[in-house]
Symmetry: C2
Amino acid sequence: MKTLINLAAKTPTQYIIVNGTTYAYRRFGNKTGIPVIGFQHFTGTLDNWDPVIINGLAEHREIIIFDNKGIGNSDGETPDNVLDMTKDAIEFIKALGVEKFDVLGFSLGGFIAQYLGVHYSEMVRKIIMVGTAPQGAKVLEGFYDLIARGSQLSPAELFLYIFFTKSENSRSKGREALQRLFERSEDRDKDTAEKAVVAQAKAITGWGVTSDIDVAEIKHPVLIIQGSNDEMMDSDTSYELFKTIPNAILSYYPDSAHGSFFQYPEIFVQQANDFLDKFE
Amino acid sequence: MKTLINLAAKTPTQYIIVNGTTYAYRRFGNKTGIPVIGFQHFTGTLDNWDPVIINGLAEHREIIIFDNKGIGNSDGETPDNVLDMTKDAIEFIKALGVEKFDVLGFSLGGFIAQYLGVHYSEMVRKIIMVGTAPQGAKVLEGFYDLIARGSQLSPAELFLYIFFTKSENSRSKGREALQRLFERSEDRDKDTAEKAVVAQAKAITGWGVTSDIDVAEIKHPVLIIQGSNDEMMDSDTSYELFKTIPNAILSYYPDSAHGSFFQYPEIFVQQANDFLDKFE
């Protein structure tokens, strides 16, 4: 499953200071064309991107992953709403000098992806959304319950509980994915602080009662990826996103949950690279 | 869009006689591994397979396309039900000496694919279904009406009406696809006779009121492809198929109808080859 050089494990973390906030990021891969920027899930840091996925994308393009404000090794205060997170991200991206980029938004990062498509459409070329949901998704009313149910679990079991189904097949793919997340042994990111987690949770539940954009306005090519059984986002909501966004491909993966692309990383990489290279 | 050698246009039609029936077929491509066999749509013949698609598959595997009983240049009487069509297809496949194959079932061919997965599971390795529906699909009650509405159109307009949406983008991709279907200038197939068309129409509407299999029993890897706006099969029914078949990937293409893979042939070829090579 590994590429020859595991850039995800080896690329040093860099820092950039913007308006007094220090953002941690890593930037690597094939520098031709425009970069893809990864927008991470609830609590996730630089070290929560699956190396198979970001190495696989990096073979064909440059990839930038970063900790948004208050996450991991980035300082500042994490906002309690997605719109401000989006503005922070844009602040960081502009500071890097990136004028146009592709979006890889996972879960909460997929919420940001939707704001980017509507409010920053000219900076965005294409958008990939994984395991996410539209504004107003009813399922988000149950987000705190879902997290509470997982709170007694060990970190490894919590990872399986959130991202994989209860089948042995899915869980075994989950254990492999978890192992991949620890291939990087040095210069690892800090865990996200509790204060930031609380703000993110508020932003996620808030997304469920917000309706300030219409994703029908997203004119970019979009690739939506979802698992068959995502309890957190409700798999059906991806079909709703697909039916509203005018130029989207939607793919569902079987027997998989919120972490569908952790479970089928090679299928995902092929599909994502093909989408980024060829789909107009 | 063309491969270097257009095998779809150049491969001669062959014939094989089985129990008194002559079947017309073409067989070409990379002879490593097991072949993919194409099961065609309502009225479709050997010449209705998109060359970009079958050439693209043939680069990586052998492809066999054929006229089922009573279709195109095959003689015999076309059955008025899908189960007997499936039995005829198996008769033909066994006569070729093929013991194991991958299935590419389009529309009516996707109905046959479902019977193959349940009743001939040991002969099948993987299944691709495009623009199809499960048994009992309510939309098929409207099949005769849909055909009647199209019956006043020219052949080219009928093709666009059935396989593409009303958008100019979709229709222009439709005109390109139609042109590809005429790249083969010699040794073309006969149009399907009216008697066979009547029998096929009865089989299709019959599928809407049949429930003699449970697709949950299909244990093969399955790839389901559908357009966003398939009026004939109802796009939503592909999501139902996905939720019932245990190991299926489902992909929807945007602004597309019954002929979704005609509209995105290169995206489809990449996805299909990747599915056939890597998805377990």
